[in-house]
Symmetry: C2
Subunit: 118 residues, 2 copies
DNA sequence: TCCATATTTCTACAATCCTTGAAATGTTGA
DNA sequence: TCAACATTTCAAGGATTGTAGAAATATGGA
């Protein structure tokens, strides 16, 4: 991930409403949510949610696609993963002191491929 | 990590000079760097570097300590690690699609305790 | 075609952030 | 005590960002 994109991503996540939106969309999964639903759940006006959604998309953290009258937004897993990786290897230079705690999280949320059944 | 601190951390990292400073301090390791050295290496004025260092400290990403006339800044490994963890578990809800790539990085930069010799 | 729905774009304004240079603070050694 | 050094604080200005509401765009159905 290039630095410019990382800077945009950090800026995108540094705003409360936008951080909430990302969380909501991650939880919503591949089905995503329509802009209106996001606005309602986040408690902001349609025009305001549109402003923030655009910012998040510009940063590569969410995706959009039209579905009839609605526009459906989904979390961009690739973008979010790339940002975490940037933070670990580019920014923190892979320092074990920093990355070790993250490794624990990774270990418990990402079961190894062959035993991902339970 | 509470949300407010995460927001501050993201804001802190969303500025080019500050991102560079964090990188420099991570690389510098436990010895850290004096404010003046940071300013010179980052190519900004003393007062400007002071402004950014304060912001980074407020966010909990760096530490400071006076050493004679100089003030030595060091990366705050705990703070940086906590931010990565926040991004993985709180923000991204531990989604394997997002965290798996991070797990690879973690695996290669954090050797298991009993074989950290080579 | 016309209307209702869903969303975005535009405009204006307030708030925050970044930069700059000057002045202030704290530290050391003569 | 005084001068030099390292850094921070302050004040001012310009730039960027966030918010609100009105107007515009796109879609689908009567």
């Amino acid at each position: 991930m290039e630095e410019g994109r990382a800077l945009m991503s950090f800026a995108a996540l540094s705003q409360e409403t936008r951080l909430h939106i990302v969380r909501m969309l991650v939880v919503a999964g591949p089905d995503g949510m329509a802009a209106g639903a996001v606005a309602e759940k986040a408690g902001v006006s349609p025009s305001n949610v549109s402003f923030h959604l655009k910012e998040l998309e510009r940063a590569g953290l969410i995706n959009q696609q039209r579905e009839s009258r609605s526009i459906i937004y989904t979390a961009n897993y690739e973008g979010l993963g790339a940002l975490i990786r940037f933070l670990m290897e580019d920014c923190c230079a892979g320092h074990p002191e920093i990355c070790a705690p993250a490794a624990e999280v990774a270990a418990c949320c990402a079961p190894s491929p062959e035993e991902s059944l339970q």
